[in-house]
Symmetry: C2
Subunit: 299 residues, 2 copies
């Protein structure tokens, strides 16, 4: 049980969660919710996305949200940025950290970004360089690390090729995404066995989706390898675009609950987190799918 | 990754699952369902319970179910038995293996069995002795191993006291139950660290509930300790009596999915298992809560 004593949770609910919710949440409610999230002890919140509204209508109010929230100085507020134009909006809204994204599998990258992997690199390089000039750190999301909805398994070499390039461009942290929730603990172990030797472990985050129910088992296996940063979405908000009704991001409240019960600190207040999840349940007028919320809603 | 190559799943859906479902399933449908379960590759099915119908109305047709199902000679059909009278009914129905049960915490035992722990021992001893005379093996369920809804944490010493006694009486296998789904992987590790030294690992099964979402992570940790037998209920049937709406037994289909994706054999056909879960969904006229069924239902 050589687990880290402290783990950092990066809350992606306002972005990765909401972008998969059909019901459009009014801007002021998003602001209220992020403000409530800011009061839970979270140190990192991905607040929105500057991807063109045509692709993610839910987050078309990115500038208003970014400018409207109260900035807690202890929290990093991040936003997803696809290209130079998105970066300019993010900089204008004074986002603390920029997230860029691409896939490790060619077909998913093509379908998601409309570019080949090699054509995506220069676009991201430009964003990363510009962000650096504006003294903003950049986080790199790599999707389909453990499997692609179109290609199936992705080779570790292929994943490393993409990750290596992003690190070379100067990203601050790499978020390794199990986009469709297919990773098993064995696959995570085989991957991390190599990854922790290749990269600085302090710059690696794991981003699990719970589609098949294995997310917390995969977190546990990652902890065995010393991983200290995980992405999650409060309440399991969002679901899976590839299987409507199935789970999306691992739920922050489920993740925190397990970590705390393992004696691992996160700095986050579970009660306040449940309060923030309740607020979103009221906005969406439906129960959120996490296990903690099921127990809470039953009480 | 020193995991077992093969794991045995003990399907408890027809008993632990159904006993927590409010809608009464007609006897013939239970029989049809168990017959379908018998065709999935499962080697062990807990088919019903001979607890007095006053306590579990859903399973008041235990004799009819036990006599009505087709017996696959490769499968052990078990049933829960609370006392000598229940044993007689089970023997009359020619059940293959008898399950006895008690709690490791005094208050849960008192509320569940209406006896103190010390008063429960002679009742179970009588059942185990009688079963032996009829050449039936006995499985012992110990509840609240990782926490009690009334007393909180239960000491390992207290759990061992109960387990030791049951082994001394001659049970064939011990099923260690996380009755309310509170165990964390750390707690499982601390417990198994001692348990695998104290008992024959081939005689220990883990019985996790997924109330807080940690069941598969706890299975993973148990595999690290070489545990090779797990109880589960297909589709996550049943839910939690202490928190209606929350998860009950870990879902067989979720468990199998993870094990197979880790390269661990179970002998069970995932497709047939999903077929059997679909049948129960039709009987209950509601979706079953497992992750695999959520994905299946979305397709």
């Amino acid at each position: 049980m050589n687990w880290p004593e402290k783990v950092t949770i990066k809350e992606v609910g306002p972005r990765d969660g909401l972008q998969n919710e059909k019901v459009i949440i009014p801007t002021q409610r998003k602001i209220d919710w992020i403000n409530q999230l800011s009061d839970t002890g979270l140190s990192y919140i991905e607040a929105t996305s500057f991807v063109h509204p045509k692709w993610i209508p839910q987050l078309s109010d990115a500038v208003e949200v970014a400018k409207g929230i109260n900035r807690n100085p202890d929290i990093t507020y991040a936003a997803l940025v696809p290209n130079q134009r998105g970066l300019e909006s993010a900089l204008e809204a004074d986002i603390d950290e920029i997230s860029v994204f691409m896939s490790s599998s060619e077909t998913h990258n093509l379908k998601n970004i409309n570019k080949t992997i090699s054509d995506t690199f220069p676009v991201l390089k430009e964003v990363i360089d510009s962000a650096a000039r504006s003294r903003k750190s950049v986080r790199g999301y790599v999707s389909t690390v453990f499997g692609c909805p179109y290609e199936g398994e992705v080779s570790i070499e292929q994943v490393f090729k993409v990750c290596d390039q992003l690190f070379e461009y100067g990203i601050n942290e790499l978020s390794l995404g199990d986009t469709i929730g297919v990773a098993s603990p064995r696959q995570v172990a085989l991957f991390l066995e190599q990854a922790v030797k290749r990269y600085d472990i302090d710059r690696i985050a794991l981003h699990f989706h719970d589609t098949r129910g294995m997310a917390l088992a995969n977190v546990l296996k990652s902890l065995d390898y010393g991983i200290k940063t995980f992405d999650s979405a409060l309440g399991g908000l969002g679901g899976c675009p590839y299987a409507p009704g199935a789970s999306g991001n691992v739920a922050t409240d489920d993740l925190i609950h397990m970590l705390h019960n393992m004696g691992i600190h996160t700095g986050i207040d579970q009660g306040k987190l449940i309060g923030a999840a309740s607020m979103m349940q009221r906005f969406l007028e439906k129960p959120l799918p996490s296990h903690q919320m099921a127990v809470y809603n039953a009480q």
